[in-house]
């Protein structure tokens, strides 16, 4: 009934593990309680690799503090798909490194210390691709702000249409529902007409200047006869989206930054319909 720590480092041999003592359990609790800052970075250890890949903290439901499965690596603590990643700003990773130093066998002296001294960069979802993004011509374009959306009170109740319109209504908004004109078929024409009834308007591209009060660019795509999906162009120039109840992200299905939703990897949403302009005054429900 104690927390187990696994050092992810080997490939062929079993990774070293240890159990925390009571004093360490208390300190772990204190440090985890201090993790508050949500980030869109991922712990690179979650994606494999060779060599040091972080620490896994685990305990089962019989533990007084409840179950835990947490990966801490490169300055990021992540607990799984349903939980947002958190910045390790209470030094959990370095502290676990200190605990492990006296328990390592078969590693070159100083290896772990050197790995932990590497800059804590996480797996950075590409905010650093500004140079590769197209120009944003919309003065009102929202900033890319996943932290405001990827929280339990917001994320499950808002979809791609909410996000594209930058309105968290907590209603899983549907095009045309606010006006009584929802789409009858999952086809471009039907969904575009429903969005138009909400106040959006179609445009041929996203290169025209939109001044203050004139809105920002969004894009509609269709999984024929099944579903629709929306993207929005952020102020940085690249596009982002919120697939259903999942987290906001600025990469496509292939993990690439989205410079144009017409050409990105959209999985089954194979039909690109149109770019549209939405504004703060659009009413969705």
């Amino acid at each position: 009934m104690t927390s187990r720590v696994t050092l992810q480092i080997f490939s062929g041999r079993p990774n070293p593990t240890l159990l925390l003592d009571d004093r360490q359990e208390h300190e772990l609790h204190e440090r985890l309680s201090g993790l508050k800052t949500v980030t869109d970075r991922r712990a690179p250890g979650a994606f494999g690799g060779l060599g040091y890949r972080g620490f896994i903290l685990s305990r089962d439901a019989t533990h007084p503090a409840g179950p835990l499965s947490l990966l801490v690596h490169a300055g990021v603590a992540e607990g799984g798909f349903l939980s947002p990643s958190l910045v390790d700003d209470s030094g959990v990773e370095a502290w676990l490194g200190d605990i492990f130093k006296g328990h390592l066998k078969g590693l070159p002296a100083g290896y772990l210390e050197a790995a932990l001294r590497q800059p804590a960069q996480g797996f950075h979802l590409p905010q650093g691709v500004v140079g590769g993004c197209p120009a944003c011509h919309a003065a009102d374009a929202p900033a890319y702000n996943p932290g405001a959306w990827n929280i339990p009170a917001v994320q499950p109740y808002n979809n791609c249409y909410n996000y594209a319109n930058n309105q968290a209504t907590n209603t899983f908004a549907q095009p045309g529902r606010a006006t009584g004109h929802p789409a009858a078929q999952m086809q471009c024409g039907d969904v575009q007409a429903a969005a138009t009834s909400d106040g959006l308007h179609a445009v041929p591209n996203f290169t025209g200047n939109l001044g203050p009060g004139q809105g920002w660019y969004v894009a509609l795509v269709i999984w024929p006869n099944v579903d629709y999906h929306w993207y929005r162009q952020d102020s940085v120039g690249c596009w982002s989206h919120k697939p259903g109840q999942t987290a906001v992200r600025n990469v496509d299905n292939g993990g690439q930054p989205i410079t144009d939703p017409q050409t990105c990897d959209r999985g089954p949403y194979v039909n690109f319909c149109t770019y549209m302009v939405t504004t703060r005054g659009v009413h969705i429900r």
Binding site: T6, Q8, A46, F47, I56, S58, D60, A61, G66, P67, L68, S69, L70, L71, E78, G79, G80, F81, L82, S83, N159, C160, Y161, F172, Q174, P175, M186, V191, V226, D227, Y228, H229, W230, H241, K242, P243, G244, Q245, T246, R249, V251, D252, N253, R266, G267, P268, Y269
Partner: protein, 112 residues
């Protein structure tokens, strides 16, 4: 609560704009699934399997006070992840025929 009172709803996490399709599990099935998804004795995994953004992202099973996500041979609940290779396929087998007809072709080949 007795085993026959357990109520579970399965959600196919696949859509973006429209709400995901859902179906209830019959009472005897639900009790068995609640016990299985609790994961007693199953190996702990280091984390959930990464799912694609658009298209099939796995199954969500919702109980009265518990929510599980099942994808890629892993079952996740409240940050705890364990391995269960067969759960995903067996839960998909409970999908009503009308939903299977509509969404079956969109599932990964090994789960169709």
């Amino acid at each position: 609560m007795g085993g026959s009172d357990v109520r579970l709803v399965v959600e196919l996490d696949i859509l973006s704009g429209r709400p995901n399709p859902r179906w209830p599990l019959a009472a005897p099935q639900a009790a068995a699934w609640a016990e299985r998804l609790a994961g007693a004795g199953r190996p702990i995994a280091s984390g959930p399997a990464p799912a694609p953004a658009l298209g099939y992202r796995g199954l969500i099973v919702q109980g009265a006070a518990t929510r599980w996500r099942i994808f890629g041979g892993r079952v996740e609940r409240a940050g705890r992840v364990h391995l269960d290779e067969g759960a995903e396929r067996e839960l998909l087998a409970t999908m009503p025929p009308a939903l299977r007809q509509q969404y079956g072709p969109a599932l990964p080949r090994g789960l169709q």
